[in-house]
Symmetry: C2
Subunit: 508 residues, 2 copies
């Protein structure tokens, strides 16, 4: 399939008999994947296809050739998307070095994916380093387990890890000269780790980071995302975020799962590389231009899960749970719009949006513990956490406290009735039934008018289908209203009813 | 709370000590509920408040007075929204007569709500008629049970119905001269009932209908909504639709639930009246200007439930179920856009959207039976329905057949990979695992660019809060970037990093 792109600008990563497949990053490409015959020495408008061989240099050659042949079209491509040097610069020197900062349950599951993708890649270095906080497990060091037995005996036992995933006990050694940093650790340790990395000054200026951490911070009554924190401490471009409806052990077992990567403005190319790093047949990645939306959804879903759990604990039915979930997502939307600016409809439709909130409310640990909080009235969060979670941490209550702090500091309690009533139940001894009072108003709700609503964009494929259907009908000389007319309604009937419809309404 | 609306135009429905509360339908009102002191004889710009007394005539007097005092502002209000006479005309002659067409499980639960609202209303006639298909229950007629024992012994046993809900065994008697028709019956009987009503010619031209039925039809390979069918057979304006995450017995037990009313263009006033008819403290109604979107979501959710059930039957985890749910909603979106035109983001966020799909996938009967379909390989749908549902009907497979028929007839299989693979599993003996093949592609998914995404509108209340926060910060001489700066980053550091950021990127 030869794409008629004006210029091939991208990274080739797969050689097949007679063809090469390339990932095209250029805006002008019609498709992300371009397949070009190796045999043909020229490709559209005399663009020469370089001989395959020095694989790593393909991208560099491509870029230089394109630049020489058509400087104007390359300018937009090479112009640094942000004020930081683009990653492509690093690719000129060889495959990108990937380091994982964190090696817990989720970190190891992700390490397994990343290392598998890096194994035969021309884009990523085969050696994937993972920072492991050293500890003894069954008489051996954890790094020893991972590097020699290829198993994270403590946090992901029973899963074989790729041999190119290398555990490194020193944070600085693990991250030295890394082009791509994957942060996946409990959020309370982030600041310390970032400061240590910053102090050691071992990251090149083009380094990009991504956060897989769910959480949120507060400073001066204002919410701080962890991507903001990582980016500002390390002085990197704002990192991307990966979030979605994922249970670590299911992902490690290669059950099918999806996730969303959200990227900030100007980092589309970086996000495309992150997608190549994480995308597996059983772990599909959508990429969206919205980093704050994706991140805040992931953090605040646990607050909605608490409300859902309280409702479960009161013995309410699915009707009520659905209403709580709906209002919970509304308040997440409001939180993002109030404190972070715009929000894309697409974010909520993606894996990091509704799908993640649903799985958290309908089966997450926050929801389960919150239900017990209501049933075993009088027990505190710490006590329930100890009894029920077997060492795992409960994120919901801590996040809820931060959220309530932000809401109060900015005097916007009226916009968050569900979050605030959940807070009062969780921390101020309020009756769980008061959550339902948020809904049970006597007044009818205000009517949403057309001008307050947002029409979804019709995707190109759907628009094409609509056009094709319309032109087929035109050729047949038929219309949709003709198709849908009830055959029992004779045409005369229709004429009569048309007259009737014209009856105007008396004015008094 | 005296609203500074330019003109009060609406229907008053509650007298309190010293005040009256009115529902304002006029576009110029800032709020839907207006409270005015009874004592004050004038209200904003000399508008005279009529003495309360002849309650029914309040609305008429209001309309006439407003018309006399400010004809230009009233014109938009009185102008028939569609080509049919507005309902307000009927209100001039007295309270609106409500009839329910259907008396099953959901019909009776809704009848309970409607009759309770009509009991002390000045807008709706106290006598609410409900068409009951006559049958013998425990030796007595079902109408006798309802009218004398106030219980639908067969379809909603154990719940006391309001005494003003009157069962009528004849369809024509039940609907004669009805101003408001509530259709809530199995969808296969709709056409027959509508034709009987049309033939009897007993509906006034201003009659409005609403459908509470979930289902879809097909004619000439094109999907037909039931509201379209009802409206076109009865020659009424396109009816509204009520749909949401509702379980009939939970609603009857007055557990909290929500629903969405979708209305067609120009029927906002009608929808506002429907809202007053259905809204209860435990059954809250949102109103949206989107009838096809709400209706198709309600019909197609059962198809997604089948896919979710298959996935459950294969023993897949929540990750996979969440992915199926997400893609299912995507394909519902695509179906609406392909065959019905525009879709509002708001519809999917409402009770009839995601909330309803979730409860159906995570606990509905279609999902449960589909899981057994996979587990007990070889059994047919009819057999499972008989064994598992105790006389209830399974809507999913029938809807799926219609949906597949529409998709094939219009040659758009490529837009509906999940629906079509679900169809092949349900009806063509395909391996359930093939559903997962829809997701497990080797190619990375295409990247969504900003221009393909839709920004949500910031609601007025949220915008107000944003402005207030910004002005408070200005007064304090602070900025958000100052609030969020990490105190450990000294200002000098920032200057240094700003310089660093300016490093431009080498061009080759």
């Amino acid at each position: 399939m030869l794409q008629q792109s004006p210029r091939l600008t991208g990274i080739c990563n797969e050689r097949r008999p007679g063809t090469v497949r390339c990932n095209c990053f250029h805006r002008s490409c019609q498709s992300k994947i371009v397949t070009v015959p190796t045999a043909s020495s020229s490709y559209h408008q005399g663009f020469r296809w370089p001989r395959m061989g020095l694989r790593v240099w393909n991208a560099v050659l491509l870029v230089c050739l394109s630049f020489l042949l058509a400087p104007e079209s390359m300018e937009a491509f090479l112009r640094p998307a942000s004020a930081y040097p683009p990653l492509l610069q690093a690719l000129q020197k060889g495959p990108l070095k990937v380091s994982l900062v964190g090696s817990g349950n989720w970190g190891t599951a992700v390490g397994k994916i990343v290392a598998a993708n890096a194994k035969d890649s021309h884009i990523f270095n085969t050696d994937v380093r993972m920072w492991v906080f050293e500890e003894e497990v069954e008489g051996r060091k954890l790094t020893d387990w991972i590097n020699n037995n290829h198993e994270n005996r403590k946090y992901l036992p029973g899963f074989e890890l790729p041999s190119n995933l290398r555990a490194v006990p020193s944070l600085t050694d693990a991250c030295r000269d890394a082009d791509l940093l994957v942060f996946v650790m409990p959020h309370q340790f982030i600041e310390k780790a970032c400061r240590e990395l910053k102090k050691a000054q071992l990251l090149p200026p083009h380094t990009r980071a991504i956060s897989l951490i769910k959480g949120i911070g507060v400073r001066n009554g204002w919410p701080i995302t962890l991507t903001h924190e990582i980016g500002s401490i390390l002085d990197l471009p704002k990192p991307c975020i990966l979030s979605g409806a994922n249970v670590a052990s299911d992902v490690a077992a290669e059950n099918f799962a999806e996730a969303t990567i959200g990227h900030p403005d100007g980092e589309t190319e970086t996000a495309a590389l992150w997608q190549l790093l994480f995308d597996r047949p059983n772990f599909k990645i959508n990429v969206l231009p919205d980093v704050d939306g994706v991140e805040v959804c992931g953090a605040l879903k646990n607050v909605v899960a608490l409300a859902g759990g309280f409702c479960e604990g009161m013995g309410q039915g699915t009707n009520t749970k659905a209403a709580i979930l709906r209002l919970g997502v509304e308040e997440i939307k409001t939180f993002i719009m109030t404190f972070f600016g715009d929000l894309l409809a697409d974010t909520l439709y993606d894996s990091a949006g509704y799908a993640d909130v649903i799985t958290t409310v309908f089966g997450g640990r926050n929801s389960k513990v919150a239900a017990e909080f209501v049933r075993q009235k009088g027990k505190g969060w710490d006590e329930l956490e100890r009894e029920m979670l077997n060492g795992q941490k409960l994120q919901g209550p801590a996040t809820l406290e931060l959220v309530a702090e932000v809401i109060r500091a900015n005097e916007v309690e009226h916009l968050f009735p569900l979050f605030m009533s959940t807070y009062r139940v969780a921390f101020e001894g309020a009756d769980p039934q008061t959550i339902l009072d948020v809904f049970r108003t006597k007044q009818p709700r205000s009517i949403q008018r057309s001008e307050d609503c947002v029409k979804l964009k019709v995707p190109t494929l759907v628009q094409d289908a609509r056009n094709r259907i319309a032109s087929r009908l035109r050729k047949l000389g038929r219309s949709i209203s003709e198709l849908t007319r009830n055959p029992l309604d004779a045409p005369n009937d229709n004429a009569a009813s048309a007259n009737h419809k014209k009856d105007s309404c008396p004015r008094n």
